[in-house]
Symmetry: C2
Subunit: 429 residues, 2 copies
């Protein structure tokens, strides 16, 4: 056997042991009361604060390794923990404790003509797998969301955060044990390195759902290779379409907010489509506003004609229409019709969030019924596609697939359902 194969065999059996322990542990949680789970969330939060020095020390090792390896400063910032950040992370667990328990919710029910009493009840998935990058806050978020929804979690964090995650998982597991819950509810497969991620993707039947969280490459790899059912999250090539009939000032505010309010996120706008009849009024105004925000515009010929002095402008290439910049870059195209805008979005959109700015009910009606995306937003910023903004509570990601969950995924989306049927001797004739 080559070393790689040996490592994979080792990881496969190791991850199987971990996942089986997680399944067994999840049974204790499936029937736990909300009070019990909320107490555990508070205990986890308290433990993170109490053990902050140990976690920060481990994090310092990750930061040293990262800096030595030439990690970009923006990634260093995502990786870094201090007592204040840990306090914020702990508070998120306490907020989770305040949310309703999805488990046990009766989704629908009826009494059948033959007297059978039928109800469809939310139950935990069992074991949730997470594959993510070097953001140790995700370790805590995922553990908290899984616990509240009655699931065990098996984590594969980025190797760059390995020291931080190892200590965090240990702290959380011991907090659970003190509450009389199995520490195996929160486990990591990081000790197996990359082979651990592969093993997690192969653990069909042991892991009930796998949620990748991170950049497009990570997500696509998991979607392509996993034999465990996956929920695809977070790739957003979002468009703002400005219609012929439009409130220009409002549309400028929406376009700017969609682009710059936070640039590194999946619900930020990447392309602005402008109806030619609005171009003469809207384009100069929006490009001036983008200049003030230091946005780099990648535009077509008609956009080029409206570029103000001082705006960084580059001619758009085909690649621009499909790029998720995640930066202060924006593709701009003038279209001849709503139909052309719909065709463009169908060709290049990622099915995340599409925005229309229009005062014409006919355009709004067509945009919201003919497009196919997780969220279709009328006269508001693309940045609203978010579990917190939607009032759904904490989110584990934003699903861009059609199966199971679409859009912001909260606690309910980490559950499945069981039909419970109560009879008094009914048989089928």
């Amino acid at each position: 056997m080559t070393d790689t194969i040996a490592a994979e065999v080792d990881a496969d059996s190791g991850v199987a042991v971990i996942a089986r322990a997680a399944k067994t542990a999840s049974r204790a949680l499936a029937t736990a009361t909300r009070a019990r789970k909320d107490a555990a969330l508070h205990a986890m939060a308290d433990a993170l604060v109490a053990e902050a020095p140990r976690i920060v020390a481990a994090n310092a090792e990750d930061l040293d390794r990262g800096r030595a390896g030439g990690m970009k400063e923006s990634l260093i910032d995502r990786l870094a923990l201090d007592e204040a950040r840990l306090g914020t992370i702990a508070d998120a667990l306490r907020e989770l404790a305040g949310l309703p328990d999805p488990v046990g919710e009766v989704v629908r029910g009826s009494t059948l003509p033959n007297g059978l009493r039928l109800r469809q009840v939310r139950v935990p998935m069992g074991v949730v797998g997470m594959i993510y990058e070097a953001r140790p806050n995700v370790t805590v978020d995922a553990a908290g969301l899984a616990l509240k929804s009655g699931n065990a979690v098996v984590l594969r964090g980025g190797s760059a955060a390995a020291s931080s995650n190892e200590v965090i998982v240990d702290v959380l597991g011991r907090a659970l044990a003190r509450e009389g819950l199995p520490g195996e509810l929160v486990q990591s497969v990081d000790r197996y390195g990359r082979a651990g991620a592969v093993a997690l993707m192969r653990a069909r039947g042991l892991v009930d759902v796998l949620v990748p969280r991170g950049g497009a490459d990570l997500i696509q790899t998991v979607v392509r290779e996993s034999q465990v059912p996956v929920i695809e999250t977070g790739v957003g090539n979002c468009h703002v379409y400005v219609d012929a009939a439009v409130d220009v000032d409002q549309a400028v505010r929406i376009a700017v907010n969609s682009k710059v309010q936070r640039v590194g996120v999946c619900n930020a706008a990447e392309t602005l489509l402008v109806h030619r009849d609005a171009a003469s009024t809207f384009l100069p105004a929006v490009l001036e506003a983008m200049r003030a925000e230091e946005v780099v515009v990648h535009g077509d010929d008609r956009a080029a004609a409206a570029v103000p002095a001082g705006l960084r402008f580059e001619p758009a290439t085909d690649a621009d229409w499909s790029t998720e910049y995640l930066s202060k870059d924006l593709a701009v195209k003038v279209v001849d019709s709503l139909d052309e805008a719909l065709e463009h979005i169908r060709a290049y959109g990622s099915g995340h969030t599409e925005v229309i700015c229009s005062t014409d009910t006919r355009s709004v009606q067509r945009f919201t019924t003919e497009l196919d995306a997780a969220a279709l937003i009328v006269n508001a910023s693309s940045r609203f596609t978010d579990g917190g903004q939607f009032g759904l509570g904490a989110e584990i990601g934003i699903s861009t697939q059609k199966l199971h969950a679409r859009g912001p995924m909260g606690l309910s989306e980490l559950t499945t359902t069981t039909w419970i049927v109560e009879g008094s001797g009914q048989i089928r004739e």
Copy 2:
């Protein structure tokens, strides 16, 4: 290139063309009114009846090929069509027309504090793929369910039914065209043979969901190999557990009905677990009833001790506990406790349907909260896990997975949702 690779490349591009045409066609349907879709269902039904002679003639070719190839009589029966059967199949389409339209249903909604009006609306998946075996009625069922739920369907039927399916797809497509809908809403990839099925499984991004329907081998192959999201259906290793405290006569009726009312289906019982405290009264009664129904019992030692004269009995092996007989065979085991029964079901159950017969509320409570299956039935037959029996209308299959749909899948389960957000200029601060 080998012939196989050439065939696969050919099938990949051919299936891609078919799936793209399906996606385009599905757009016409996504915004169609219920009245329009119901009219199309009636037109499809009428066309099947009007063209029955042509369909029956094509079916005769399949039957001849099947008989010449030594096809089992039970499979010949499933494959066979005559005018009466086509009438029944057409009636199923008319019944679909009578069901509510899932598309446009508002699942939830609210007005946010900032005035954004939020609603989560059911929308079609887009393109549904079906891979199934030689039952031409499934061709019509799948086309009807897809149409009513606003989806295009791409079918891969069994090669044994190729002639029947070719004519049926042609008849349905022309009926749609007469109603002003694209015929590409119902297409088949059968012309590509097995390579067509492989291409369908690879068509990620072109096909939105793939539903395999058939035997365990077919389903497992699709689950393992598909890159398109799959809904796993219909493998059932269902148990009936008879508790210590039990109404013996009622439990006998339930056990017999669960086993023999129809044996070749996924919700038939395959294993009977009997608490030792009920064994002395229940076992003789149920085994006598099974004898009368000509059931072959595969039992453990304690079951063997209660075998009446004339019952066909074989000592159970480990394989019996995991076998989905789909025949008049039943595994029987005496357990020492409810815990042992739960452990057995966890080890061998397929997560489809589990039944408890008990008069003890504590046992019922544990059974319905500690087990993990699509349906948990108390004091009634396992045969009730069925979309029609549950009052959900027509079903496309019974999902045994946890993602998206669990248990009987009807029209709603062939839809996804979109968040529609209407604002008046809101931006994020």
